[in-house]
């Protein structure tokens, strides 16, 4: 079976559906916007304080925004029993996981890229020279959240209390991602030498690799049982 075609078609279907309904991205965006607004008015905005606070606030906004999107990732498949259809099709389960992961990652990154300029404005940050490294941290952190989140989204989709169960299961597991992302972003914003926060970026990359591979293998069991 054409493994990569399945990934491509699943991601295409999710993106097309989202572009038309804007259900996921708009709810994610407005939640994150409210977080930014509340925090930006709660703290003083001198650059020093902003640099200290911003990484934590930003990743809290990104992670909780991501959970909103991840929660809806598989519930969309429940309409018209589409999940049953995916289960019945002669396609590798790992390809379904990677297709869903690709679309979840993309949704989260789109929202984060829309929100990032707002963080810069509201927290009065000077980050333009550091954008390439910032994008690397953003992708590594977001992949960590979405790799585990996609698996747990599939695991909880048939549970009645799935909106509660997803964060309960997901948040403890992604603590290393959140710590790594906050520390790496903080180091970058403070202008520390890269050697000081490189271990945190490495931690993110190692987490991404391990959890994407594990989730890929476990997904067949989750979907078929």
């Amino acid at each position: 079976m054409n493994f990569f075609n399945v990934i491509r078609w699943l991601a295409w279907k999710d993106l097309l559906s989202e572009m038309r309904s804007r259900e996921n991205i708009s709810s994610m965006f407005f939640f994150a916007l409210i977080v930014i607004l509340i925090f930006s008015f709660s703290f003083s905005t001198d650059q020093q304080t902003a640099r200290e606070l911003m990484p934590g606030i930003m990743w809290v906004a990104f992670v909780f925004t991501g959970i909103i999107g991840l929660g809806k990732s598989f519930t969309a498949e429940l309409q018209n029993d589409c999940l049953e259809n995916l289960q019945m099709n002669p396609i590798p389960r790992g390809a379904i996981y990677l297709g869903k992961l690709a679309s979840n990652l993309l949704f989260m990154l789109i929202v984060e890229l829309i929100l990032f300029p707002l963080f810069v404005i509201f927290f009065n940050l000077d980050v333009f020279e550091k954008i390439p490294l910032f994008v690397l941290i953003l992708i590594a952190g977001t992949l960590g959240v979405s790799s585990v989140g996609t698996l747990f989204s599939a695991m909880t989709v048939q549970i009645r209390a799935r909106e509660v169960m997803l964060p309960i299961l997901l948040l403890p597991l992604i603590v290393p991602v959140m710590i790594g992302a906050v520390e790496a972003t903080g180091g970058l914003l403070r202008g520390d030498p890269i050697s000081l926060y490189r271990p945190w970026i490495e931690l993110l990359i190692v987490f991404d690799v391990i959890f994407t591979i594990v989730s890929f293998w476990v997904f067949e069991f989750i979907l078929d049982h």
């Binding site: 097309l16 559906s17 099709n89």
Partner: protein
């Protein structure tokens, strides 16, 4: 070689036994119509055969392959038309067909899709989103999908529900065509008159057990169960 062969299939939910040692055979090019009251286990039987559930005991074969051990192979043969239409609301009819066929490694050209949609009478709605479709139109779209996929085993859960008279004729025409091409069809139904037109064999599932009945008696019998 039989298309579908159930061998002493049983299924229990907690303490309730839905299916009790159900055995049957559907030859290639044959249509088997299954009747029974609501809750008799008809849909459960179809879900077992569609590899969506595992039986508590017993086994089944499809085109000579073991349905439990070899379920990935079995999935290549089968297609299910069920109450859930397996369609995505935000995609239009053509996009839904393209997506469903792509998961099976098929890529029909625009003309083939148009012909199939015209055949089932919804050609004029090809670019309409599915969320605007009635249940009957969704069922017709499922037939169009099946026409293009040409499965060797067709499982149909109440294929006549939601269809108007013309739609029912269309469904029977499609079933005849499929069996003519050698496909095995197993359908559950409450419509004895329509089913009698296409079925070569029939059975009644009642209190978990299956008994065969003559097709000629279908329309005439006062009560089946």
């Amino acid at each position: 070689m039989s298309g579908i062969r159930g061998i002493q299939l049983s299924q229990s939910y907690r303490h309730y036994q839905v299916l009790k040692d159900v055995s049957f055979e559907v030859a290639q090019g044959e249509c088997y119509a299954l009747f029974g009251p609501n809750g008799a286990g008809k849909t459960t039987l179809l879900k077992l055969l569609a590899t969506l559930q595992k039986p508590s005991s017993g086994r089944f074969e499809m085109m000579g392959h073991d349905g439990i051990r070899d379920r990935n192979r079995v999935r290549e043969f089968l297609l299910m038309i069920a109450h859930g239409s397996y369609l995505y609301g935000e995609l239009d009819a053509v996009e839904n067909i393209r997506f469903a066929l792509a998961l099976r490694g098929l890529s029909p050209d625009a003309r083939e899709i148009k012909t199939a949609l015209d055949r089932v009478g919804i050609g004029a709605f090809a670019d309409f989103k599915i969320r605007y479709f009635s249940e009957g139109m969704k069922k017709r779209l499922s037939i169009a999908k099946a026409i293009l996929i040409r499965p060797k085993v067709l499982l149909m859960d109440e294929p006549y529900s939601s269809l108007d008279e013309r739609g029912m004729k269309l469904m029977n025409q499609f079933i005849r065509e499929s069996t003519g091409q050698g496909a095995s069809v197993l359908m559950t139904s409450h419509n004895r008159v329509q089913s009698a037109e296409v079925a070569g064999k029939a059975g009644v599932l009642f209190q978990g057990t299956l008994r065969d009945i003559a097709v000629k008696d279908l329309a005439a019998a006062h009560e089946l169960f």
